[in-house]
C-alpha cells in the first residue's frame, strides 16, 4: 500500500532553500509548485500526447475563488475561497494574504521585483488593501496587460501566516531563516524532512482545497550525476528521474518499465555575446557565428532529436511566437564572407564560458569550438563555477557564455522585456535597439492585445536580424518515470506537480 | 662424573660451509671438540668465520649458507638433519648463544623479564608466573641488583653491561650444556668486561657446561680459556692448550697475533729528556683551565655535567692520554678543544691565545694548527668524496697552496700514512677499517698541525691493525714533533704512546701523572680498578691457574 502512495524522485539537486523569496532556481520552482498555493492559476488541458498542459488562454481561481479586474486594468480584487486550510489546520483569510504580501514586499526579493518592476508599484499601503475578511484588493499606478497573469507565478504563493508568525524574532522579523528550511502554506504538500544535498520529503496536506493528494509521500533524493539517476530508474529504485541527458533518455526509451515524457517547453538555450564590446559589437560578426553553428549535428548527436532549433527569442509555446525570421543555416562560406566584411578575414580569438557540471553545455561548447574554428575563430573554453560565471557575465567580462533560461509568464512582451530591453538588469548581452526598447515598453503598458502581438512580431524580427545571441536549441523538458506513474503534467516553471501524479 | 672429559660434549667434525655453488668456502674442514666444564677460546681477525661457526653450531646459517661437509654432534648425537622442532629444543635449551651488542639482541618494546621468561617457557613446561619468578631469580644470580624492578624495565633503560647480563641470563635460563659467547663483551668498558666474563665463566662452571669464547682479545683467552683455536680464512690453523700457545705458538699467524698483543715499548723516556723541551716547561702549548660543559637532558630541566671543572695542560711535543670509562666525558673534552662544541665555562689557551672567546672566523685560521682524528673511521669520512678530495679538504685552509701544490701534498700524505698511491681515487667504503683510519690521520696531519686530538684511534680495529696504527702514530709524532691529546679506553696503547696520563670519571679528572707512575703506583681507587680490569696477556697464567685449581676442587667434590 505504501508503494502505491509513495513516490521516489531522483533529482540532480535538492532545493537550495524552501523560501519562495529565495532567488528562483529549477529545484526551487518545484518546491513552490507543490507547497505554495497561489491566488490564480491556468486551467488544465490535455495535450495530444496525453500530457496535461496549462491553457494560457483560460485563467482560473485557486485560493481566490473569484477575482475582478477594473476596466482600466489598474486594480484587481481577489475574493478568497472560504474554508481553505493549511496542513497545520490554519485557515486562509485576508489577513494571511495581506501578511504574505507584506513579507514579500519587505524581503525585497522576488515579490518586490514583480510589484515594482512589472507593476511599477511604489508604496505598499496605497497598493494593497484588505477589503474584508475574505477580500483583498491590489491597485497599480498604471494599467497593465499582465495584471491577472502575474498572480499565477509560482513565486507568489500565500503563506500560512499564523504559523510563520510563531517563528519571528527580533533579528529576523520576516522568519527568513525559519522559512528557508520549513514550509507553512496552502499547497497540496508540506515538507516534513529537509536535508539539503541529500533528500527532501513531501507529505500530503490532508486539507488541500482540491482534495487530498493521491500520493501521500514524495521522497526527493539528490543524485547529482545523471548517469546515476538513469541507473536508479532502470533498476526501479526510483519512480521518477529528473533532468536526464538526451542520450540517456534515448537509452531509457528502449528500456522496459520506463516511460519518457517529453515536452517542448519554454527553455531558450543560447550563447550570449557581449554586444557592447568588440568584436561582438559588430552585427556581422554575430551573424557569422550564427551561420557557423552545425545545428543539425548538435540536434542529432547532443540532443538525439529531443530538441528544436531556437528560431526566436520568445518561447515557441507562448502566444505571439513567430519563427518566420529565422534564416541561420549552417553556412561556413557565408560566415567567412561576413567576417571578412566585418574586418576579420583571419578570424579572431575569443572565449566561451559554461557552467561547471553542465555536461550538455560542455559537449556543445566543444562542438562550437570546432565549428567556429572553421572560420578562424579561435575559442578558448572557460569552465566556471556557477557563481563565478554569473559574476563575470554580469560585469561584462566574458565575451561569450551559455545561457539557459525560461520566462515563466507566457507573454511575449514580458519575455522580451526580461532579455532584450536595454534597461533590463538581466540583459547581460547588452543588446540595445531603440526600436525594440520602445516596442517592449508599450507592450508592457498597452492593453490592446492585437497591437501587442504585431509589435512583438517586429521585436522578434529585429532580434533575429541583429543576432545578439548565437541561437541554439529549445531543449524542451523531459521526465523519465516508471511506467506505472500516471498523470504527468507540465507547467511553465518546469517543476513537477506531484499532486497530478499517481501510481498504479 | 669421570666420563665427562672422556666423551666430548660437543664434537665438530670436518665441518665446511659455503654460500652456494662455486663460492669460496666460508668455513672449511673445521674440527674440534668441547668437553664438559671446558672453555675454548676462538680468536682470529675480522671475517675469519668465527661468528659463522657459532651459528653453524645452532644450525642457523645466514641466508644462502649451506653445509657442504662434516657433522656436529652433541653428546654423540648429530644435530644436523634433525627436525625443525627438535632443533628448536636444542637452541637455547642445550646450546645457547650470547651475541655481540646485547642491546640489539633484546626486543626493544618488551620488558626484559618477559623476554627471559619467554625463553624458559619455550623449553620448559611452566606457567607464566613460574617463568617470571625463575627469570627474576636468575637475574639475581647474574648480579643484577633490585631484580624485581629491573625485570620490568625495557632494554633502552639499561646500561650496556646490564643488558649483557640479561642476555647471559637468557642464555642460562634453560640450563644449556654448551654456551657460545660471540664477542660478548665487545664495546663494554674494561671494568665491566671483566665482571661480565667472570660471571659468565662462573655460571658455566656451576652448571658444568662447556663454553666457547669467541673474541679478538688474546688477553681474554689468556685469562679465561683452557684451550684456544686460532682461525684464519675459515679454517682453524692452530688448536692448542692456552699455556702452550702463549709460550710458543706453532704457526706464524698465531705468533703475529701474539706479538701484536704484546707491544710494550716505552718511548717517552727519551722524549722527556729532550733538552729542547726541558727548556720551556713553563709555557705549555695548550692550557685548559676549569673547563665546564653541560648538556641539557631532553624533556627535563636537568643537565648532564659532561665536563665538570677540568684543568690540564699539554707541553710542546708531549702526548697526554685521557682515559676513563665510557661516558666519562673524554670525547667531549676533545671536541671542546677543537671547538666542535662551545664550552660553558673555563678557558682554553692555545699558544698564548684564548680560543674559547675567539670569534669563529678567527678560529678558522687557527684550525691549521689544531686538528682532530675522529673515533669511528668510516663515518668520519664523507662517503661521496674520493680519498684525495678528503685529504685535500683541510689544505684549503692554506690559501697559498695552488692546485698542483695541493696534489703534491696529498700524494705526500698518502705516502706518509703508508697507503698505496692508487688509493687516491677510491671511495671510503671501498677501504678497510685500517685504511680508513689512516686516511683520517692523513687528513688531520695535512696542515702540519702543532696539536692533534686523537679520539680512540685504535678501538674497533683488529689486533694487528691496531698495532700498526699505534706504530704509525708514534713514528709520525717522532717525525713531526707535534703535541697530542690521546683519548682512549685501551690502556695498552696508552703505555705505548703517552708521556702522561689523565684519568677521567664523571666529567672530572681524578688523577693525573706520568704514565709510568700511574701504571706502577696509582693513588686513586678508581684508577686502580681501571688498571686491574686490563687483561694483559702476560699475567693470564696466574688467573688461569687459579681457575684450574677451582675447577679441580669442584671435580673432586
Amino acid at each position: 500500500q505504501d508503494a502505491k502512495t509513495t513516490l521516489v524522485v531522483a533529482a540532480p539537486r535538492t532545493p537550495e532553500s524552501l523560501d519562495q523569496e529565495y532567488p528562483p532556481t529549477e529545484a526551487g520552482h518545484e518546491v513552490r509548485r507543490n507547497v505554495f498555493e497561489r491566488l490564480l492559476t491556468y486551467k488544465q488541458k490535455k495535450g495530444d500526447d496525453g500530457i496535461f498542459y496549462e491553457d494560457f488562454g483560460a485563467i482560473d481561481g485557486a485560493l481566490a475563488e473569484k477575482w475582478e479586474v477594473s476596466d482600466d486594468r489598474k486594480s484587481i480584487t481577489f475574493h478568497l475561497r472560504k474554508g481553505v486550510k493549511s496542513a497545520l489546520g490554519n485557515e486562509l483569510n485576508a489577513d494571511t494574504v495581506m501578511w504574505s504580501f507584506l513579507r514579500g514586499w519587505n524581503m525585497k526579493s522576488n515579490f518586490h521585483w514583480y510589484m515594482t518592476q512589472i507593476f511599477k508599484i511604489e508604496d505598499f499601503d496605497t497598493a494593497f488593501q484588505k477589503v474584508d475578511d475574505y477580500t483583498v484588493k491590489v491597485t497599480l499606478p498604471n494599467a497593465s496587460p499582465l495584471i491577472e497573469r502575474i498572480w499565477i507565478n509560482s513565486d507568489l504563493g500565500i503563506l500560512d501566516s499564523v504559523e510563520v508568525k510563531k517563528h519571528l524574532t527580533d533579528a529576523d522579523p520576516w522568519a527568513a531563516s525559519w522559512l528557508a528550511t520549513n514550509t507553512a502554506a496552502f499547497g497540496p504538500y508540506f515538507i516534513s524532512k529537509y536535508k539539503p544535498g541529500q533528500e527532501v520529503v513531501y507529505d500530503a496536506n490532508p486539507n488541500y482545497f482540491r482534495g487530498e493528494p493521491k500520493l501521500k509521500r514524495v521522497i526527493l533524493r539528490e543524485m547529482p550525476t545523471s548517469a546515476n539517476r538513469v541507473a536508479a530508474i532502470q533498476a526501479g529504485s526510483v519512480d521518477v528521474a529528473e533532468y536526464l541527458l538526451p542520450r540517456e533518455l534515448a537509452l531509457l526509451e528502449k528500456a522496459p518499465g520506463v516511460e519518457v515524457h517529453k515536452v517542448f517547453g519554454n527553455f531558450i538555450h543560447r550563447v550570449e555575446m557581449n554586444n557592447a564590446k568588440p568584436p561582438f559589437d559588430n552585427v556581422k560578426v554575430r551573424q557569422a557565428l550564427n551561420y557557423l553553428v552545425p545545428r543539425d549535428e548538435i540536434l542529432k548527436s547532443v540532443y538525439f532529436n529531443t530538441a528544436r532549433f531556437t528560431k526566436s527569442p520568445i518561447s515557441e509555446i507562448y502566444p505571439g511566437f513567430s519563427d518566420e525570421f529565422f534564416a541561420y543555416s549552417n553556412d561556413p562560406a557565408k560566415a567567412k564572407a561576413l567576417l571578412a566584411e566585418a574586418g576579420f578575414p583571419e578570424g579572431f580569438k575569443t572565449q566561451l564560458a559554461y557552467r561547471t557540471g553542465d555536461q550538455l553545455e560542455e559537449e556543445m561548447a566543444v562542438i562550437l569550438k570546432s565549428a567556429f574554428a572553421k572560420a578562424g575563430v579561435d575559442v578558448e573554453l572557460l569552465k566556471l563555477p556557477a557563481s563565478t560565471l554569473v559574476e563575470r557575465y554580469t560585469k561584462g567580462e566574458v565575451p561569450m557564455y551559455f545561457f539557459r533560461d525560461m520566462a515563466i509568464v507566457p507573454d511575449a512582451a514580458y519575455v522580451a522585456n526580461l532579455w532584450l530591453n536595454s534597461a533590463s538588469a538581466i540583459n547581460y548581452s547588452k543588446f540595445k535597439s531603440d526600436e525594440v526598447d520602445q516596442l517592449i515598453d508599450s507592450g508592457l503598458k498597452s492593453t490592446d492585445e492585437p497591437k501587442r502581438l504585431v509589435d512583438m512580431k517586429r521585436v522578434q524580427q529585429i532580434t533575429m536580424e541583429q543576432a545578439p545571441w548565437v541561437f541554439l536549441m529549445n531543449p524542451g523538458y523531459q521526465l523519465a518515470t516508471r511506467a506505472n506513474v500516471k498523470g504527468y503534467s507540465w507547467y511553465t516553471p518546469n517543476g513537477n506537480a506531484f499532486f497530478d501524479l499517481s501510481k498504479e | 662424573m669421570s666420563d665427562r672429559n672422556s666423551t666430548a660434549l660437543l664434537e665438530v667434525d670436518n665441518l665446511s660451509v659455503d654460500f652456494g655453488e662455486g663460492t669460496r668456502k666460508a668455513l672449511s674442514n673445521i674440527s674440534f671438540s668441547l668437553g664438559r666444564d671446558e672453555i675454548l677460546g676462538i680468536v682470529g681477525e675480522t671475517g675469519a668465520g668465527k661468528s659463522l661457526l657459532a651459528r653453524s653450531l645452532l644450525n642457523l646459517l645466514p641466508e644462502g649458507g649451506r653445509f657442504t661437509s662434516g657433522d656436529i654432534r652433541l653428546e654423540g648425537e648429530t644435530v644436523l638433519g634433525i627436525s625443525e622442532a627438535e632443533q628448536r629444543k636444542i637452541r637455547g635449551g642445550r646450546i645457547a648463544l650470547i651475541g655481540t651488542n646485547a642491546k640489539a639482541l633484546l626486543s626493544p618494546v618488551e620488558t626484559v623479564g618477559a623476554q627471559i621468561a619467554r625463553v624458559l617457557r619455550a623449553h620448559r613446561n611452566c606457567s607464566q608466573k613460574e617463568a617470571w619468578k625463575a627469570a627474576v631469580d636468575l637475574m639475581v644470580q647474574v648480579g643484577i641488583v633490585n631484580p624485581e624492578r629491573r625485570a620490568k624495565a625495557y632494554p633502552h633503560e639499561l646500561s650496556g653491561g646490564m643488558a649483557q647480563r640479561i642476555v647471559i641470563a637468557m642464555a642460562m635460563v634453560a640450563g644449556p650444556d654448551v654456551v657460545l659467547a660471540d664477542d660478548a663483551t665487545l664495546g663494554l668498558d674494561a671494568t665491566i668486561q671483566v665482571q661480565v666474563l667472570d660471571l659468565l665463566v662462573k655460571r658455566c662452571r656451576e652448571l658444568g657446561a662447556g663454553a666457547v669464547l669467541i673474541t679478538h682479545d688474546l688477553g681474554i683467552v689468556a685469562h679465561y680459556c683452557d684451550r684456544v683455536a686460532i682461525m684464519k680464512e675459515g679454517r682453524i690453523v692452530e688448536l692448542e692448550e692456552v699455556g702452550k700457545f702463549l709460550a710458543a705458538p706453532k704457526e706464524p699467524y698465531g705468533q703475529a697475533l701474539l706479538d701484536a698483543a704484546r707491544v710494550r715499548p716505552t718511548p717517552m723516556v727519551a722524549k722527556v729528556e729532550d733538552p729542547a723541551l726541558e727548556k720551556q716547561p713553563e709555557t705549555p702549548l695548550l692550557d685548559v683551565r676549569r673547563l665546564l660543559k653541560l648538556f641539557p637532558i631532553a624533556g627535563t630541566q636537568d643537565v648532564v655535567r659532561a665536563i665538570d671543572d677540568v684543568s690540564f695542560s699539554v707541553r710542546r711535543g708531549e702526548t697526554l692520554a685521557l682515559v676513563g670509562e665510557s661516558g666519562s666525558g673524554k670525547t667531549t673534552v676533545g671536541q671542546c678543544l677543537v671547538r666542535l662544541l662551545d664550552s660553558d665555562g673555563g678557558g682554553i689557551t692555545f699558544d698564548g691565545a684564548d680560543i674559547t672567546t675567539m670569534p669563529a672566523a678567527e678560529f678558522r685560521a687557527m684550525r691549521r694548527r689544531i686538528q682532530m682524528v675522529f673515533q669511528e673511521p668510516y663515518v668520519a669520512l664523507n662517503p661521496r668524496w674520493p680519498v684525495k678530495a678528503l685529504i685535500a679538504e683541510p689544505l684549503r685552509l692554506d690559501p697559498t697552496l695552488d692546485r698542483a701544490a695541493t696534489d703534491k701534498r696529498v700524494r705526500q700524505l698518502i705516502d706518509l700514512v703508508q697507503l698505496p698511491a692508487g688509493i687516491a681515487e677510491v671511495y671510503p667504503h671501498q677501504l678497510t677499517a685500517g685504511e680508513q683510519k689512516r686516511v683520517g690521520i692523513a687528513r688531520a696531519l695535512a696542515t702540519r698541525p702543532d696539536f692533534v686530538v686523537f679520539d680512540e684511534p685504535t678501538t674497533a680495529l683488529d689486533i694487528r691493525v691496531r698495532a700498526q696504527i699505534i706504530d704509525l702514530v708514534r713514528d709520525l709524532q717522532a717525525e713531526m714533533g707535534m703535541s697530542a691529546l690521546f683519548i682512549t679506553h685501551d690502556l695498552n696503547s696508552v703505555r705505548s704512546l703517552a708521556h702522561r696520563v689523565a684519568v677521567m670519571r664523571y666529567g672530572k679528572i681524578v688523577e693525573e701523572g706520568d704514565t709510568e707512575m700511574i701504571f706502577s703506583a696509582a693513588k686513586e681507587d678508581y684508577t686502580k680498578a681501571l688498571l686491574a680490569a686490563e687483561l694483559p696477556v702476560e699475567q693470564g697464567t696466574a688467573q688461569r691457574d687459579r681457575a684450574e685449581t677451582r675447577r679441580l676442587a669442584g671435580a673432586a667434590a
Binding site: 541507473a231 566543444v366 570546432s370 574554428a373 569552465k383 | 668520519a380 662517503p383 685552509l397 671511495y427
Partner: protein, 279 residues
Amino acid sequence: MTRFIRYVSKHPGAMVGLTLLALQIASILFAPWLTFYSPEEADPLMSLQPPSAAHWFGTDVSGMDIYTRIVYATRINLLISIVAVAFAFVVGVPIGLLIGFYRNWMSALVMRVFDFIQSFPVFVLGMALVSVMGQEIWNVAIVLAVLFIPMFARLIRAEVLSLRERPYVSAARCSGATDGSIMFRHILPNALTPAIVQVSISIGLAILLTAGLSFVGAGVRMPTPEWGLMVSTGAQQMILGVWWVALFPGLAIVISVLSFALLGDMVKDLSDPTTRERL
C-alpha cells in the same frame, strides 16, 4: 654509463620503466605523426563510437578520437607534473637545507607552517587552491608545486638533521670547512638521494593529482586533452556500459605513474655510492 647499462640489463623493472618513459617521450615529441586525428576537433556525428580500426580506442561524447587525445595528453600531463615537481624541488630543497642546518625560531616557524599545510588533505587543498586561482594549466602546476614544497623541504630537513650530526661533518669543520661548504659540499650531496627518488615518486603523484582534480572538474578545462579529464567524460558513460571512454585514459595514467615509480627505484639504486661495485 656501463654501470647504468649493466644495472638495467639486470633489473627488468628498470627496463620496463625506461621503455615506458621512452614511449611517453615519443608521444610528446611525435604526437602529430603518431595519430590520425586532431586532438581537439569535435565531430558530433561520430560520438561514442566503440573501438574500431578507424578509432583504435573509440571516440568520446564529442566524437573526438580517444587514442589521439591520449597521445597528446602526455604533453599536458607530464608538463604539469614535471614543472610542478621541478619547481617544488628547486624551492623545497634549499628551504629544507636551511631549516635543517640552522635551528632557530625561523626554522621552527617554517616547520610549523609546513605542518599546517600538511595537515590538510592534499587533494582537498589542491581542489580549493585551483578554484581560487582559476583553472589554468599553469595554476594546476603551481598549486601542485606549493603542495609539494613542504614534502621536499621536510625530506631534506630530516636528512640534514641526521647528516649534520655525522662525524664527517664535524671532521670537515675541523678541517676548516665553512658553513656554506659544509651545507653544499658535504650535506647536500648526501641528502639529495632521497629527494631525487622523491622527484620520481612525486611526478607520479602529480600525475594522479592532476587527473583527480580534472576528474572532479577542478583541473584543466575541456577540450584540452588531459587523462583525468578524459576519464571524467567517460565516467558518466561507464555506468551505462560505455567502457572505452574511461578505460584507456585511465590505463595511460597507470602506465605513466608506474614508469616513474620504476624509474624512482632505479635512481635510488644507482645514486647510492655504497652499492657501486655490487652492480
